[in-house]
Subunit: 597 residues, 2 copies
């Protein structure tokens, strides 16, 4: 690796006691300046590290004078000689901590105003909008620098792994066609065709399938994707996915490949441990039952347990009402929490209400075996005991129950489970727990729009023996779909696809598209399937989220160089922004007068 | 490399005589079927090659029957055994030409209609719009497949080379801010901010410089860029560049790096020869004088020679008029072309007129030394002789002159030079001639708009000793700019940048921007330069064009998987296209009524 360039002969991260007496030229930013005992010490920083520079007026009056004028974040060049630090002054936290550079000459390459927040002290909390406006300063801080380096390394390792296995990276267009299915598209008006628009891709799904029809066998792309959604949760208008497709494969082929890739990435770029290998494969039904979500965090146990069959045996209104409305009763055991105060239990109730439950039913098993619970008034001891046994409750445990619709019960208990795991410190931050979720239904029914919708996307294939159920029992068709989960985040999903035009058309029809709509939106796909489309399947992995997890960050904005805010603004460049009238004219557009709402 | 997947145990490109008697399962497309002597021969194709499959009814009646029903481009799976071909029937043109697979069983995985153009016969000329509409079939053809593979390999090798040298690939946003400078932007209307727009980036120029201010030291990106220009020449609305920036560098550092990269790419991905190493560095003035263009093809000589000082010595109106209008007279020697017929010379005249010249003046030196030229009537023999000597004319040569403005003379003779080199077969298709062009002026004067314009971009730095000329003599400021040329194509260009806010502001002012415009468009850059911007420089290489040259193609559309037409349409997906009224409403836009022109 040659990092030597015009302004330097070494970086600020590479000099050690092996280099003593070597004449060097360094260049970097003043991280800190200390005046001590007539000497000036400069910590000089670049991407690679920090080197201590000493300016001794008896060695070089000019260097000392120049150093006396520099301030934090000035860009300077230092010519000098590597010296061993005095015994006792070494800094074991720095790779260069055994040496310092005695300056012969210091040149200021550029000055700096005082930054709006400190660069050298990362402990200071800085408002995120200030960080985004001055992103070029935020990225100077070691945490963000390390995130950018990690992201580079992860993506590079992905490419190496896939290249070795015969995958071709093929670029697909960003200027695409709008498809009303799915999320809202970003549109790009055409200048040459008045009233017509391109759309930015939500994913290269169709094109990657066409690349399989083209016989290219193994495709991938680190692909930018776009969704004009309201930015709930941790979303960005543009995000990056590893998009991949393979021909002549079964579900297992894709899962094996991706499992190998993820293990490679963890081992190559992190010091983290993988909880279980091979990754467990859990059915959709199993994870919904046990974890209340299709992206479970399996680093810890704390399973959800359904007690609907036991809950109705007494006269407890909360349970009985929920069951009468076709709801369910489900609980979770919190080990050692029987001593929670009323206030602590009330806080959990409030938490449950935030996510839509009417409340929580608690059952504390005192260390002496006594029970503290509203249930004791309404149910026979034997029936309560059966519930306790179902949950494997022990003295000292707190059992918590939700009685509500299946959806709300699961949603609340999923979140409660994660909350309790954090409280109980069941989570090892150095552990990565991957799992596959499989056996998804192909379709679900959208009550609101009165139509079937694809669980994953309309291109997912299905178990061959279930094809006839498309007519008789569409909700019981098993999709050839797989999602990959890590530490409770869905980091990817895919499927083996439909490759037969008639079957694809049938799925579109089930989704209430008429022939004209199918032809207009997907005619080119159906036509392509008539020219020898091979069996194929693929996956997309969310790169932002994967890097976020590997980097121990809580938001994808921390692993994107120039992210937008939750409200889709670029605070650095100032986008979006008004444009000149001439530009709108060229695009045959006018802006509608704003309505006051 | 494990290419084994559910439907196959080997690819159609890997079996050789080492595999005889191995039981295999192949999957692929029927490239050709031949019925011969009671047997059926199927050439089965996948991305990796072609394997001959033999169906012998005495070995497997079922396989033979299945084979009798397949047609071209059917997708089939073959189970069988590898056999040595009979002596004399080997095909040395195929990697698998020594063997064939005797089929036990053939399964049709998918059928195919007859393709709109033949896949297996590449010699057939196919209309480009048909190829683009059925791109998934066009990409099945070996030429296009090989182009996709070459592109993947080139880009992978770029990443490997830069990763080894400490460059970080960092993704920058596609949803950016519009900057009126430069080409026309593609705009993306914002839904959340009525009347405001994002713009697709023409390049990540500003952000890569900000990454240098961020101290990230070495950045690159395989970056998608967008320009809404009228598609003259071989342009695409979206194109891909290797975008790169480094800190603490001089021009030479960037040039050394890129020269090493290009040599690495050529050696790693092609069998081509590089004409000259190190790449020659030619000044802008030198190449304009000698080749009439700033992106000269130096695979051959045929220099342009100026004779303005000699041309005015007689009474030849064409020369004298051009000189009187401050034009120039320049010529080129075409070896061995003295025998061109009047028709042939007339065709060259016509060619010259196409590019704006009023004509060409010819001077044929007959093998016996006699001259055939209009000049002989208007100039003294000695003056004509001086011209011949200047061009090093020899008996048998044809000298051709253009007398016009400098711009037109250069433009016509540049193109004439290339035309004649092709005719004279001076071009070796296996040779790559790279050169650098340096010593560009920082600015040129746009007569039409009455203002200075940046020769490269407004961020280019300049020779330090020339900074004061910005006031006194702006056109004589030398930029720290370099272009890299290959075989007459500009494949990239860059510069060492300005990193001082005041100097940057001055350049914007020279370009007639007022303070408000500067602040509005580039305020964030100028502010960033005040927080310790290091010296930095970079380059952008046009990947589409580079791959095109390496692939011996004439258009970048041949090396892009899904290109748009010259009129910016996607014929496969059908984009651009009208959108639903609801979408426009969401974006607060209306389409203007079309005017009839």
């Amino acid at each position: 690796m040659a990092f030597e360039v015009h302004y330097r002969t070494a970086t600020c991260g590479e000099l050690t006691s092996n280099n003593v007496d070597r004449p060097v030229t360094l260049a970097g930013w003043v991280n800190r300046r200390r005046d001590h005992g007539g000497l000036i010490f400069l910590d000089v920083r670049d991407r690679y590290g920090i080197t201590q520079v000493v300016c001794d007026p008896e060695h070089s009056a000019a260097a000392h004078k120049a150093a006396s004028e520099v301030r934090s974040e000035y860009v300077i060049q230092i010519q000098g000689t590597v010296k061993k630090r005095l015994p006792g002054t070494e800094n074991p936290n720095l790779s260069t901590g055994a040496i310092e550079v005695l300056a012969d000459q210091i040149t200021v390459l550029n000055i700096s105003r005082t930054p709006p927040f400190p660069i050298s002290n990362e402990a200071s909390q800085v408002d995120e909008s200030l960080r985004l406006k001055y992103r070029y300063l935020d990225l100077r801080r070691p945490r963000m620098r390390d995130n950018m380096i990690l992201r580079h390394r992860i993506v590079k390792a992905m490419r190496d792994y896939l290249d070795e296995r015969g995958f071709l990276e093929i670029e697909t267009p960003i200027l695409m066609k709008s498809t009303p299915e799915g999320a809202r598209d970003y549109l790009v008006p055409s200048r040459l065709y008045p009233g017509e628009f391109y759309a930015l891709p939500q994913s290269p799904q169709q094109l990657k399938q066409l690349l399989m029809v083209a016989g290219l066998d193994r495709y991938f792309q680190v692909a930018r994707c776009f969704r004009d959604e309201d930015q709930r949760a941790d979303r960005q208008p543009e995000f990056t996915q590893l998009d991949l497709e393979m021909s002549f494969v079964s579900e297992d082929d894709v899962m094996q490949l991706i499992e190998g890739l993820l293990i490679f990435l963890v081992e190559k770029t992190t010091g983290k441990r993988i909880k279980q290998r091979p990754f467990p494969r859990l059915s959709f039904k199993e994870v919904m039952d046990r974890y209340g979500t299709d992206h479970p965090d399996i680093r810890f146990d704390l399973p959800l347990v359904e007690i609907s069959d036991l809950a109705g045996k007494g006269t407890f209104g909360v349970f009985n009402n929920a069951l009468a409305k076709k709801g369910i009763v489900k609980g979770i055991r919190v080990p050692g929490a029987a001593g929670y105060s009323r206030k602590e239990v009330d806080e959990l109730m409030e938490f449950a209400r935030t996510y839509g439950a009417k409340g929580l039913v608690s059952l504390a098993i005192q260390p002496n075996g006594d029970l503290k619970s509203p249930l004791t008034k309404f149910m026979e001891p034997a029936d309560i005991q059966a519930i306790i046994e179902r949950l494997e409750g022990k003295p000292g445990d707190l059992l918590l129950f939700v009685a509500d619709s299946e959806k709300i019960s699961n949603d609340v208990l999923w979140r409660l489970r994660v909350l309790m795991a954090e409280r109980l410190k069941l989570i090892d931050p150095e552990e990565l727990a991957f799992c596959w979720v499989v056996d998804f239904p192909l379709l679900h029914y959208n009550e609101e729009e009165q139509r079937y919708e694809a669980e994953h996307n309309p291109f997912s294939g299905m178990e061959e023996s279930h094809i006839e159920r498309l007519d008789s029992d569409p909700l019981n068709v098993r999709a050839k779909q797989y999602d990959i989960i890590c530490n409770g985040y869905e980091i990817g999903g895919g499927s083996v696809r439909i490759n037969v035009a008639e079957l694809q058309r049938k799925v579109f029809s089930l989704m209430n598209m008429n022939n004209e709509q199918i032809q207009e939106q997907f005619g080119h796909m159906l036509e392509a399937f008539e020219y020898g489309a091979p069996p194929h399947g693929g996956i997309a992995l969310g790169i932002d989220r994967l890097v976020m997890i590997f980097a121990d960050e809580d938001s994808i904005r921390e692993v994107i160089a120039f992210p937008k805010t939750q409200s889709a603004q670029d605070l650095l460049m100032g986008a979006p922004a008004p444009v000149e009238e001439k530009q709108l004219e060229d695009l045959h557009l006018t802006v509608r007068p704003t309505e006051t709402k």
